[in-house]
């Protein structure tokens, strides 16, 4: 079953790329009693080690979230910003945001703009202030805010911002808490700056030098009305990513995973996509190379304030990772 409380806390807590302290501390609290050693590197990656005698297995998920960084505050107190992580400006209009200190605001756009295309330069954040000084007393240039939509859960699905990739982090935490005997030398890594191009994953893989790497991410389900054709659908189980823009799976790991899903009755789907860079792109090329596969949870509306994933798919992903660790 899914620990709704923990998942809700994990998706709601502040931690945009480069400012991951809060989510990192939350994860440390959850896992510290279950691992042998915890390390935080220069880029802020959280590396948890559970020693074993076998191959070095690194399992990672990125813990940062989409954010918006303040670049300017005008005379009337409106905030101008730019995005940290990929998203569509048009998805942001009317959305609420929250700063680390709790200050909330709403994103809107220059309505009388003569150009049709909405770009970040035409968006602003209104925190309900009456002048520059008022805004400056609450928000500084360089501050980063996050999407503030609430976490919603029903019997079968979860709707929330930041499922990408706090869902991956949640699965890692659950795996760590339920560790049985494994012959792997296990490294659990919660990476930083995944949203801006797998930066944390690069230094983490460099210091760990894993033999094998599993990356847990979410991937775009394109099963909504009039969407482009794709295999990936919600409720169809965990996804094994054969290829994306930054990597091709290692066939040995892929075959192991395919054996495991059959043996353990795990619902799964395969994906070949042109999706963005995942941490796997950095990890599989680290040093002498790392056998790498991405395992994903299908998710709708990725990089918006309302991402949707299903409980069943999450559980299938958890089952697959657990069976991989226990397979030896």
């Amino acid at each position: 079953m899914i620990d709704s409380n923990l998942l809700k806390n994990m998706v709601s807590i502040y931690g945009p790329s480069s400012r991951e302290e809060r989510i990192r501390n939350l994860i440390i609290k959850e896992i510290e009693e279950y691992v042998d050693e915890i390390k935080i590197d220069q880029l802020g990656n959280l590396i948890a080690h559970k020693a074993g005698c076998g191959d070095k297995l690194m399992i990672s998920a990125n813990m940062d979230q989409l954010g918006f960084i303040v670049i300017d505050i005008d005379e009337k107190g409106f905030i101008r910003f730019t995005n940290i992580g990929k998203c569509e400006p048009i998805h942001l209009i009317g959305q609420r945001v929250q700063f680390e200190n709790g200050i909330k605001g709403v994103i809107f756009y220059e309505e009388n703009s003569t150009e049709n295309k909405i770009t970040f330069e035409k968006l602003y954040i209104d925190i309900g202030s009456n002048k520059k000084e008022d805004t400056l007393s609450k928000v500084n240039i360089g501050d980063i805010c996050i999407l503030a939509n609430e976490y919603i859960e029903n019997e079968i699905t979860i709707i929330s911002p930041n499922l990408d990739d706090r869902l991956g982090c949640y699965i890692l935490v659950e795996v760590i808490k339920n560790l049985n005997n494994t012959e792997y030398d296990l490294y659990f890594v919660f990476t930083t700056q995944g949203k801006v191009g797998a930066r944390g994953a690069k230094t983490a893989a460099f210091s760990i030098e894993p033999d094998i790497s599993l990356v847990i991410d979410v991937n775009r389900a394109r099963d909504t009305p009039k969407q482009e054709r794709s295999n990936v659908k919600l409720f169809n189980g965990v996804t094994i990513d054969i290829m994306n823009n930054s990597y091709i799976t290692h066939s040995e790991i892929k075959n192991t995973l395919l054996d495991l899903v059959v043996k353990n009755n795990i619902k799964y789907q395969l994906e070949v996509s042109d999706d963005d860079i995942t941490d796997a792109g950095s990890i599989h090329l680290s040093k002498y190379g790392v056998k790498t596969t991405v395992v994903s949870i299908p998710c709708r509306y990725v990089h918006t304030s309302s991402e949707i994933a299903t409980k069943e798919d999450i559980i299938m992903c958890l089952k697959l990772i657990n069976s991989f660790i226990g397979k030896l």
Partner: protein, 341 residues
């Protein structure tokens, strides 16, 4: 200023030799250790009076944007490609210097009288432009230049106006010059590394090997950065402003700058009454992109001198911004090294 010599030297990406030799000569007597690595980066180390367990690296890139000769036609005109992000619209009628012998040339194009109406509304494509070196035939041209020769803008260094400097290649000779001043200062308390990198303008090529070699904990990138302040422009659309002090980077295409380093820099600027500004755009990028993720990673900060008409033949900086950047860096070193002690 030394900046005059530095900007008059030519160092289009991949061909930084002249700049490298100049910098090497300037700093050899002041560095405690200096080496040129396999792709041409200069890496220098300067001992301070006190030891520190923090490895700080300051880096500026030696290369500049420019052109490269790709073909010579029957009339002796040179065809070329750009090296780095050069706006083709700034090229027409510029004077240039070609190759090691600095052969003078002029970038030619069709005169306005002969242009069709539609042509007048659009910028020339590179294939419509050529470099004229004043010869009559390919054979004549081949005596002076070769395919593969680098082409740099030919711009006089001038100090003008209210403390402004006009020159080519201010991105990033201004950073090189500041770091040379830094290494010549015998009063810096702590040890630090300085690097002058190659090929930044064509994709941060030199910085990776520098970082791999030095393995810094903290790296400060010293740059010339874009500056654009047309009248009636909303303040958030001006990336930096001339004369408003060193620009502290928040974000760019490759990097999210370390929050604590940034905050420390701002508080030092306030404490010592040094003007500063934030760089208000996520466009562009610099060596930080490679250095932060090299090896086990490094914390990065970028301080830039606002540079108008960047990547063109005539860039402009303000001397105040130069000296304010230098003094902020000097305050930064002890402030970084002292902590946790």
């Amino acid at each position: 200023m030394l900046l005059e010599k530095l900007t008059l030297a030519n160092g289009v990406s991949g061909n930084e030799k002249e700049v490298r030799n100049l910098i090497y000569k300037e700093i050899i007597d002041f560095a405690d250790y200096i080496k040129i690595d396999k792709i041409g980066n200069i890496i220098a180390y300067k001992k301070g009076k006190k030891k520190t367990d923090k490895k700080i690296l300051f880096i500026a890139h030696m290369d500049e944007v420019g052109l490269i000769v790709t073909d010579i036609d029957e009339n002796g005109f040179l065809k070329f490609s750009t090296v780095g992000g050069v706006d083709k619209r700034v090229l027409v009628s510029k004077t240039v210097k070609i190759g090691e012998n600095k052969i003078p040339g002029v970038i030619g194009s069709k005169p306005i009288h002969l242009q069709k109406k539609s042509e007048r509304n659009e910028a020339f494509e590179l294939e419509d432009l050529y470099i004229d070196i004043g010869v009559d035939s390919r054979t004549d041209a081949e005596i002076k230049v070769n395919i593969g020769d680098y082409v740099a803008f030919d711009t006089k260094y001038e100090e003008f106006g209210n403390g402004c400097i006009k020159a080519k290649a201010l991105d990033d000779r201004v950073g090189c010059s500041i770091l040379i001043d830094l290494i010549k200062d015998e009063n810096i308390e702590y040890d630090f590394y300085v690097a002058f990198s190659v090929m930044e303008e064509i994709g941060l090529v030199g910085a990776g090997p520098v970082a791999f070699n030095v393995k810094p904990d903290i790296c400060v990138i010293v740059e010339g950065t874009l500056c654009y302040e047309m009248p009636n422009l909303d303040s958030h659309l001006m990336p930096t402003r001339l004369g408003y002090g060193p620009a502290i980077s928040l974000i760019d295409r490759h990097t999210l700058y370390d929050f604590e380093l940034r905050e420390k820099t701002v508080s030092l600027a306030k404490q010592h009454n040094i003007p500063y500004q934030y760089r208000k755009t996520s466009s562009g990028g610099n060596d930080a992109g490679e250095i932060q993720v090299s090896g086990e990673g490094a914390k990065v900060l970028a301080l830039s001198v606002p540079t108008r008409n960047i990547h063109s033949s005539s860039s402009i900086i303000k001397k105040d911004d130069y000296f304010n950047t230098l003094s902020l860096i000097k305050y930064l070193i002890p402030s970084i090294c002292k902590e946790d002690k």
